[in-house]
Symmetry: C2
Subunit: 253 residues, 2 copies
């Protein structure tokens, strides 16, 4: 035995049907790949879905930050590498590096995971995983940690309503991470994405949203292509996020 696999690596190729209308990787796909590789690694380490279920718990993503220098384009190969930066009885910090050919670093991601008690719907204690402290890896993650999120509320300059439906919900029977991201991304139109790409995205999940609940999306323009977002239900924030864009020129293939 060589001990736990501290770094989990998976190779992908970006297919045409997966691409955004700009023929590059969509933010939601990368967020999905981050969740997927975290899942594979946790399963390999014996701390995955099956292990937590034995204690009536399930993993839930609490915070996610993604910072990309360049997004993979159609048919491009890319690699995700994930490792655990640290954990305690309340949460686990897991980082990611996204590389292209010749180990070109395309970007990084940081994530914070908590356990939810399936029946009580409250944060679950992770201390049963304490024996896994030697999975912690000292590989650096050269992106800034997720900063605090400021409320949007009355300072919003854009708002829209959306009722969560069946396909917005996942295994944990609450609204899926990727749907929150889509809801925020949909604030902008096709022309905007033809001239802007996401450079950094941060999101925090504060309360569960359920099927059939009506949400309000609030967005504030913070200037210089930075935006703050808040999703509320009955006036209470369930999620807060930040989007940062940089200039981009879509060229028709």
């Amino acid at each position: 035995m060589s001990g736990p696999i501290k770094e989990y690596i998976k190779h992908y190729t970006l297919t045409a049907p997966e691409c955004s209308p700009q023929a590059i990787m969509p933010l939601t796909l990368l967020a999905g790949r981050v969740i997927e590789t975290a899942t594979y690694h946790a399963n390999d380490l014996g701390i995955g879905y099956a292990r937590l279920l034995a204690d009536g718990k399930a993993w839930v993503l609490s915070r996610l930050s993604i910072e990309m220098r360049r997004w993979p384009s159609v048919s491009e190969e890319y690699t995700l590498r994930t490792w655990i930066e640290g954990f305690n009885r309340h949460f686990s910090e897991r980082n990611f590096e996204i590389t292209g050919l010749d180990d070109e670093v395309l970007g990084h991601a940081r994530s914070i995971w908590m356990a939810i008690d399936i029946k009580e719907r409250q944060g679950g204690d992770l201390s049963m995983l304490d024996a896994l402290r030697d999975t912690v890896c000292d590989r650096p993650c050269p992106m800034e940690k997720t900063r605090r999120f400021s409320p949007v509320g009355d300072t919003a300059d854009y708002e829209s309503r959306y009722r969560f439906r069946y396909c917005d919900c996942d295994f944990n029977r609450h609204v899926n991470t990727l749907r929150y991201i889509e809801l925020i991304q949909n604030r902008w139109d096709m022309d905007f994405y033809d001239s802007h790409r996401v450079s950094r995205f941060d999101i925090a999940f504060m309360h569960e949203a359920k099927c059939a609940q009506e949400a309000m999306l609030l967005i504030r323009d913070d200037g210089d292509d930075n935006y703050s977002a808040e999703i509320t239900i009955d006036g209470e924030a369930v999620s807060r996020a930040r989007m940062a864009f940089t200039d981009y020129e879509y060229k028709q293939l």
Copy 2:
């Protein structure tokens, strides 16, 4: 050289984050896997995205039918096998078999693909692929072919409106197959899916829908858990579908 790979096979494991709220594979994920394995096989055969782009064309899904005896459940391994039943200058017919452990047949899918001329937005001629006639495979697909779709229009007993947004659109810069499927599936609530699962799904794409267009979803109850669906824009059908359900009992894990 052993000639073209007539059957393309890919193995998957259903992860927890991919599951539906009923802890089984969602219809949209299977549709995505069907499109993905078709893409991998076409790329291997040299008739994929890159080949069509050389002629200013792109593959678009025209019809899809899925019939499932049983859906994979969380952490279950499953395999997709795809092969070409036939093609001509207008379209290509590609079939799929979904199996579980010990080659248990879980279901099948049938698909019809056309080429779209990227600039003209019209059906493109596929006769440049004619040399590939020896990729056609005589493996049988024991599911009924896609039957004609009947209009819903005035016979609808359910309707709702939806405006397509940025994240509903894909590489071809039109509304994505999976979004049409979700839009239809969202007609039913969580309780319904706790007691019903999809047994067969058929869809035909008739016209392109674009970002920012407002669609009307029309559904008709045809009895015995069979439903017809139509998505219209300005009164014109852009897609027609059928859903068939069978009884299911969701048991909380």
